[in-house]
């Protein structure tokens, strides 16, 4: 029973804290422009240019391709493109971890789907007569095996790389090793639990019990695994591992935001709102003080 509570609570907190972080960044005051080219959404300037390459740019429509922006974002999210292009050796292990995590997320959802399918009386197995059952079974097996393997390998190699690379180890704090170790431990306990259950039948059973709050006998290993995964899910959004939130803002609202402040534009409205805010803190250098009001 308490394992169900941990499972639900940790997922809830993971989503809740992540959403809260999004909300906090989204609510931050408007900042000055800091775009950095090339900007993927800039249409007609695919060589890395911008509307500033046009004479009287403000009198011409600013053509923006959201499709290209989304495509660029997907390349970053799905493949970590910038790391691939700029630091290939590191990309291999970082991508192993990230792809592993994506696959494990898919696997988890497939376990839930599989559990619900079985609760509805459809067999999820290699010899299932239902196409749905077969599909869920095979997809679960592939994502689960690959995800656990890649994730564990990635996390483990990242720890080793940080430990043995003369540069990285200077910049890695104990907390950052802890972050990776936590993921590694959660994944390794997963492998230990499910290594005797290669077809994930038991995993689906456990999932079914977890989602339906049905008490069951859990081994120590399984208990440790669920608790570790729970801690990890709560810890990720409060730590800097929540960069999945930050990355959206760094690109979308900082590096790729070149919307000019033109009459009647949405930017102008935002500036109006921002200019009404009077800061409560002020700077202290002599030249920052407002000039003394003239004596009457």
């Amino acid at each position: 029973m308490y394992l169900s509570v941990i499972a639900y609570l940790s997922i809830l907190l993971f989503v809740g804290i992540s959403v809260y972080k999004v909300y906090r960044f989204a609510k931050m005051p408007m900042h000055g422009r800091m775009e950095l080219y090339p900007l993927p959404k800039e249409m007609g300037f695919e060589h890395g240019g911008s509307f500033y390459e046009e004479v009287s740019w403000w009198s011409k429509p600013h053509k923006v391709s959201h499709v290209r922006e989304i495509k660029e974002m997907l390349k970053e999210i799905l493949f970590i493109k910038k790391l691939f292009e700029n630091q290939r050796p590191f990309w291999w292990i970082s991508y192993a971890l990230h792809l592993g995590i994506y696959l494990i997320m898919a696997w988890t959802m497939l376990l839930v789907v599989g559990a619900i399918t079985e609760l509805n009386g459809i067999v999820v197995a290699a010899n299932s007569l239902s196409i749905w059952g077969l599909l869920v079974f095979h997809l679960s097996t592939i994502t689960g095996h690959l995800g656990l393997l890649l994730g564990t390998l990635g996390a483990g190699l990242l720890i080793l790389r940080r430990l043995f690379d003369n540069t990285l180890k200077k910049y890695t704090t104990p907390q950052e090793y802890f972050n990776l170790l936590l993921i590694f431990a959660a994944l390794v306990t997963g492998i230990l639990v499910w290594s005797s259950d290669l077809s994930f039948h038991f995993a689906r059973e456990v999932t079914a019990k977890l989602i339906s709050f049905t008490p069951f006998e859990a081994s120590t290993l399984l208990t440790v695994h669920v608790i570790l995964v729970g801690i990890m899910l709560i810890y990720i959004p409060i730590s800097k591992m929540s960069h999945y939130v930050g990355k959206y803002f760094t690109f979308h609202t900082v590096l790729w935001d070149n919307r000019p402040n033109l009459k009647g534009s949405s930017v102008e409205q935002e500036i109006k709102k921002a200019s009404a805010v009077r800061p409560s803190t002020t700077w202290s250098a002599p030249h920052m003080k407002p000039p003394a009001s003239p004596k009457m």
């Binding site: 931050m28 000055g32 890395g48 910049y171 700077w283």
Partner: protein, 538 residues
């Protein structure tokens, strides 16, 4: 002194007289003909008197001439206390204009170290640990964690809050903020989109906005001078008008062109905004602009209003409040004149300051649209408004991309199109365009000509650019009868070019020349009877 390879961010608090020392043999090797021994001036130690007065304890160089050693323990403590107060403020509403980008770059660094390879200073220094882009950022994080986070106070070293904070730590950090050109090339490669330059600039801002400490050429003789006299050069209105008159006479004498600079012409279409330094250091540039704008039949004017004839805005490098004051006054000068557009001449940081940084400082009613001169220049060539003869520019030409114009504004193509059309021997540097390297003069370095700072700039910060130039001219470098021209359409970059050519004696030894884009255009004008460049005169 430490071996730079062993240097860690927390060492910034050590009591060493000097943390590291640059050795010539560790610097990135230069390309031929500068690969031979003795081709490069030696690196020198700071004078003992400088050690006593300034902070030379980082790498021996002095970037901030107004940062002087405290005389008493009280002064020392006061300095640290003030810095920490300022540091706390950058995360408050006093810093709203950059809060979101700052927090993102501050919070999310995954220490993957992808940025290092993108940094020209780090690479040129022979991968010196001190100049690694994340080194400085990490020092800042450590101090913030130590004083302002619960985790840092409770867990200390576990979360990285393991640095000793004293006068030396803070002063070195301030110096280190002036070992970054704010070129933002590293931000282009960060997988998380983070920007170390934001953190460098925030350190500079704390020093200026809270402690009142900033390099003299940027603040006292820069923005303050500009706001009081009209120009950071100190050029007042009468002197400015005299200069124009002199240039008109000089142009007629040299080229037989009757030039009349339009000044304060009400209702003109274009207000042309020059970096006032051009009138003093490179007067041929504003002259070339005038010749071209007249030949193209543009309705343009200069302004003689206070601050209306100097486009610079050094505030964007170190102080948000000064940047805003300058930008708003410049906007007003244009608005008062009733022009349709402000056209930025060849000054990179002025481009960005007016068009991008100042864009959200005021509502559109207070503004006049800002545009770059480069598309206008390309239209002159493209539309054949002016007749050019490319054979007049038949010597090797390469193009330096000013970071502010290219990487930070996206103006990449027009200047290349002009060069391709009028310079038969045009060749690109590698890399170029949005991936260019900074000239080494960015963010104030080009005008910080005091103590031993020029040595750091010329030997380290500009080293990558010098190598790119040598690379572009391989094969013709050693033929001194062939002039080789570096086209740098930016006053600040030209300042850096002037400095490196002098430092390496490259004009004298190899006939390496530099200048802007408009000079090349005027030189190619069919109507011009003699070469515009002195180096082409027989």
């Amino acid at each position: 002194m430490l071996n730079q390879k062993d240097l860690r961010p927390k060492d910034l608090g050590r009591s060493d007289e000097q943390l590291i020392k640059l050795e010539p043999n560790q610097l990135m090797p230069l390309l031929p003909p500068y690969d031979k021994p003795g081709m490069e001036p030696a690196l020198t130690d700071p004078k003992p008197a400088w050690r006593e007065k300034y902070c030379t304890s980082l790498d021996g160089y002095v970037g901030i001439d107004t940062l002087t050693r405290p005389k008493t323990k009280e002064e020392e403590d006061e300095f640290v206390r003030k810095f920490l107060t300022g540091l706390e403020k950058i995360f408050t509403d006093a810093n709203n204009g950059v809060l979101q980008p700052l927090l993102l770059s501050f919070d999310y660094c995954a220490k993957c170290d992808t940025c290092s390879a993108a940094c020209h200073i780090y690479e040129a220094s022979g991968k010196n640990e001190l100049y690694r882009p994340i080194f400085r950022s990490e020092v800042l994080r450590k101090i913030v964690k130590k004083y302002f986070t619960t985790s840092g106070k409770l867990l200390g070293g576990f979360v990285g809050a393991d640095i000793d904070v004293n006068w030396e730590t803070i002063a070195r950090l301030g110096e280190l903020a002036y070992r970054c050109n704010l070129c933002r090339r590293c931000a282009q490669t960060c997988p998380l989109g983070l920007d170390n330059a934001i953190l460098s600039k925030e350190i500079r801002k704390i020093f200026s906005q809270e402690l009142g400490i900033a390099p003299t050429p940027l603040h006292a003789k820069g923005t303050v001078n500009q706001l009081t006299t009209g120009s950071s050069t100190g050029l007042g209105k009468p002197a400015f008008l005299d200069t124009l008159e002199f240039l008109e006479e000089d142009t007629e004498e040299k080229f037989g062109i009757k030039l009349k600079f339009p000044v304060d012409k009400k209702g003109a279409d274009i207000l042309l905004f020059h970096n006032a330094g051009e009138f003093i250091a490179w007067p041929e540039n504003p002259v070339a602009f005038a010749i071209l704008f007249d030949a193209a039949g543009l309705n343009w004017t200069l302004s003689s209003d206070i601050i209306g004839y100097d486009s610079v805005n050094y505030g964007i490098w170190y102080d948000d409040a000064m940047a805003k004051k300058v930008a708003l006054m410049q906007m007003k000068a244009a608005k008062d004149l009733g022009v349709n557009r402000m056209v930025m001449a060849e000054c990179g940081h002025a481009h960005k300051a007016s068009a991008v940084v100042a864009d959200r400082m005021a509502l559109s009613d207070m503004k006049v649209p800002v545009e770059s001169c480069l598309p206008i220049l390309w239209e002159m060539v493209k539309n054949k408004t002016i007749k050019f003869d490319p054979s007049k520019n038949n010597f090797p030409v390469t193009l330096h991309d000013p970071c502010n114009v290219v990487r930070q504004m996206g103006i990449v193509q027009p200047q290349r199109d002009v060069l391709k059309a009028i310079c038969p021997q045009f060749r690109e540097m590698t890399p170029h365009g949005v991936e260019n390297y900074c000239c080494g003069g960015g963010s104030g370095f080009a005008i910080m000509n005091y103590l031993n700072f020029p040595q750091f700039r010329d030997s380290v910060a500009s080293r990558m650019k010098f190598n790119q130039i040598l690379g572009a001219f391989q094969g013709v470098m050693e033929n001194t009868s062939i002039p080789k021209y570096i086209c740098a359409p930016c006053s600040n970059c030209k300042g850096a070019m002037r400095a490196i050519l002098e430092h390496y004696d490259a004009t004298e030894k190899f006939n390496l020349q530099y200048g802007g884009l408009v000079e090349l255009m005027v030189n190619a004008m069919v109507s011009l009877k003699k070469p515009f460049f002195e180096f082409l005169e027989e």
